[in-house]
Amino acid sequence: MSSEAVAVKRRSAGRRLAGFFHGRRKLQLGALLSAPMAWLVILYLGSLAVLLITAFWTVDPLSGSVIKEFSLENFEELVNVPVYREIVWRTVRTAILVTLTDAIIAFPIAFYMAKVASRRGKAILVVAVLMPLWSSYLVKVLAWREMIAEHGIINWALEPLGLHGPGEGLVAVWLVFSYLWLPYMILPIFAGLERIPNSLISASEDLGASPFTTFRRVILPLAFPAVVAGSIFTFSLTLGDYIAPALVSNDQFIGTSIRASITNNQPFAAAFALVPIVVVIAYLGVARRLGAFEHV
């Protein structure tokens, strides 16, 4: 058979296949979705389901082997042991603090980018804000670790003032998280402010409102959902992270505790991993009520 004939035959086979799918939407959909759904449902949702089940198992304290029987022990421990309650509260508190800090730092930048800067200035600022997001997460944590070190730049700068930097600890964790997630706050606020028509602002000004009143009564209410949208990132990213706290503090957070218990008590780690899920879902519920999903 000449190669041309093969080509023709192949093409006709392909055409037959294409013709077979033509107009049969359900079959088309099935063919498109079978592989990705197998991956996401069986592998991923399956894993999450296993995680949920594992959370009810326990570890035999003597042999260290997993006892695959239903028990609420892990959850009782999480609720009743004060240390764990403290860890959860510390993590949530840090997440809230980081969110507020980022909102305060991000808003002026986003506002300047969206409503004040020239076209060129805006383009430059967008790149300037996006750039650090592409550079490695670990590099950024490392930078802070070196800055807060005993002989680092912060202590060097504070020394003439007779002050001493925060060193490793909760303040450092707060600083690092605020640093890491700042662009995640700037971008949604910038997008939200860009959507506010300039004519609304002009109208407010023409009607005699001072810039402050315009800001408070027009811009802020319209941009608030975008701030909440940004806060979802800063909040949930802080909640699950364990690398940054491990590098700049000795304090325990949800992430570090899960990490610590995974090697010898997988069921407990699984139970603990459900905590951030619950908190994130609760937070998303609040965010939805505040309108974060309406037009992000």
Partner: protein, 290 residues
Amino acid sequence: MRLSKRARVLLRVAVGLGLAFIYVPLLVIAIQAFNSSKILKWPPPGFTFSWFEKAFESESAREALITSVEAGLVATAIAILLGTLIALALGRNRFFGREAINFLVVIPIALPGIVTGVALSNTFTQVLGVSLSLMTVIIGHATFCIVVVYNNVVARLRRTSVSFEEASSDLGADTWQTFRFVTFPSMRTALAAGALLAFALSFDEIIVTTFTIGAGEETLPIWIFRNLFRPNQLPIVDAVAVILILLSIIPVYIAHRLSSDEGGVGGRGGAGTTTAPPAAIAEAEATAAH
């Protein structure tokens, strides 16, 4: 907006301080990498290039880099395939369960990385009895990379009109030809941008990686993490860090090219979908999808 002179100055100061907050740490670590002393000290007592030489000579760093690139490429390939398939199914059809699938794609990146990490490692070791390896890392990475490709492609499909595809099939093209000559060319740049984001996300990932990686293996972030605690290695890690900061210009440049290739099609939305960084845009679009 009309602002008083004072307000304008205050705003500029706030922007300046914010940018300083963003860039000073990167600058400090860059200077630190040239520190002639092995011990961390500010200001550095002298300057040297030797840490960069040592970083390039470091066998373990080079191997970790290769591992990271391998994992990133394979995870990206899987994400491109699965993400595009979902985008084609959801972008051009309305059907029962569509929203559920949309949500399902988003979960791996919406949940904290540690949850995905624990869940996958738990399944691999306890249920499937698979030993952790680079393969398990790739599976983990691909899972959260799907959403990035999906978001980019589906956004593009939404912007391009169905009428082109309808015209193609009215003119006698079959499903494959329509895809090959109409749909695919229109989503090519979105696909490239999605792939870039997916690779960057995988290349930088450490949380899911620590839970799914085999004992003998090291990706670059894991290498950095382990060497941070070895005082002798720290200056070399700093040098690697600087190289990584410089390398991060490449994706920014490519993303910029991709968004300018789009021309006027996406308007300012073009910059939004392509120049934006991996996780930010993935999550921003994820929340938008609800």
